[in-house]
Symmetry: C2
Subunit: 221 residues, 2 copies
């Protein structure tokens, strides 16, 4: 629904997304290189211990259990559009979000979280943890999945508000000249339109739950 | 040295950085909330098992072992400057890097890696893993630390090349008018200067080692 909300706007186009998932991978144990990596388990729903145990039976190398939170990439028409999304993402708790400007000028906004798990479980085919630990780990992962869903929901609601508030420049200036012919005039008009019609800047940043662990947050808004 | 390299340029100013570290934290076990979090261990050097064991003796809640890779935040004068840094960061393996444009127009480039560890070790004061597992974990963390240093080195070298190549617009156009009076003219001149003098666009992206685990990388360049 979030993806539909964005794609309904001309100025946004979602490129890829993942709601959040638990994955269990098996690698050949050469350390950092993720070559020869096999996926033993992928689930976007709450995880159960027996699935992890079954996955582990197939393992021959170094198995890693991961929780990967929500990721969303959105192509944006203008930098201002990406800033709006970025602001809502940060306010919703997605603190590693950022904007990418490609070589051809393509603007992408990436919604990312700091909220992960990455746990080595076995080495050279030998399980290094107890079944009880795996049960505990599954519980922690499911808690993170729940928190992840709460953040997605916050982002979704924040985005609805912000998009409603941000009257697009095209609506205000239907007679605006083609960008390629008069970039400067078009830009100035857009900026004025945004200033008048974009109260999303006034959203209060929410107090994020992870602040005590990250020294760098204050500059990310 | 990397920080000095950037700060020697007028168009860059580093805001915060961490080379990479291992941390062991103790929380009150309420799950996601990182309130009442105690740091039991922080090291920027290779980790040793005995330090982790000593740290664990002080634990009363839920202990988590983390490897956090290199992070660097750089304030950039213009978007083009941030794009240059971003391009070098991605080519060096820092694939979660991104640009942030603040409410006041402040442009920050964040260098971030996907390369982490986050492992719950104890629950309500009770250790959930063996000493042998902690030894293994320390080994994995140290491997990641080494790879992290290789990436920092790659980033440093790539940055030296890119900065040498990118002759700043101010040097080419010392007579350029003040930005606030004539943004448009200044911008057009800058763009021309960049086109002539910025061969960093021609850097070959390196084949990153984590590609098989991330579906979203192709759009991050």
């Amino acid at each position: 629904e979030l993806v539909r909300l964005l794609n309904a706007r001309e100025r946004f186009c979602t490129a890829s997304s993942c709601d959040g998932r638990v994955i269990v991978t098996d690698t050949d144990g050469t350390g950092i290189q993720k070559k020869n990596c096999t996926w033993l388990l992928v689930t976007h729903d709450p995880c159960v211990k027996s699935d992890v145990m079954t996955a582990l039976e197939k393992a021959t190398g170094d198995v890693v259990f991961k929780f990967e939170p929500f990721v969303l990439h959105v192509l944006c028409r203008e930098l201002q559009d990406a800033r709006l999304l970025h602001s809502v993402a940060i306010d919703s708790g997605f603190r590693n979000s950022g904007i990418t400007v490609g070589r051809g000028g393509k603007i992408t906004m990436a919604v990312r979280s700091t909220h992960c798990l990455e746990v080595p479980l076995s080495h050279k085919g030998r399980l290094m943890v107890s079944e009880e630990y795996i049960e505990f780990l599954v519980h922690v992962a499911n808690q993170k999945m729940e928190e992840n869903l709460r953040r997605i929901d916050r982002f979704h609601k924040g985005l609805e508000l912000a998009l409603e508030a941000a009257v697009p420049a095209d609506t205000l200036f239907p007679e605006a000249p083609e960008k390629s012919h008069s970039v400067y005039v078009h830009r100035r008009k857009r900026r004025t339109a945004q200033e008048q019609a974009n109260p999303s800047r006034e959203l209060e940043p929410q107090d994020d739950t992870e602040s005590s662990l990250d020294l760098f947050d204050e500059i990310m808004i």
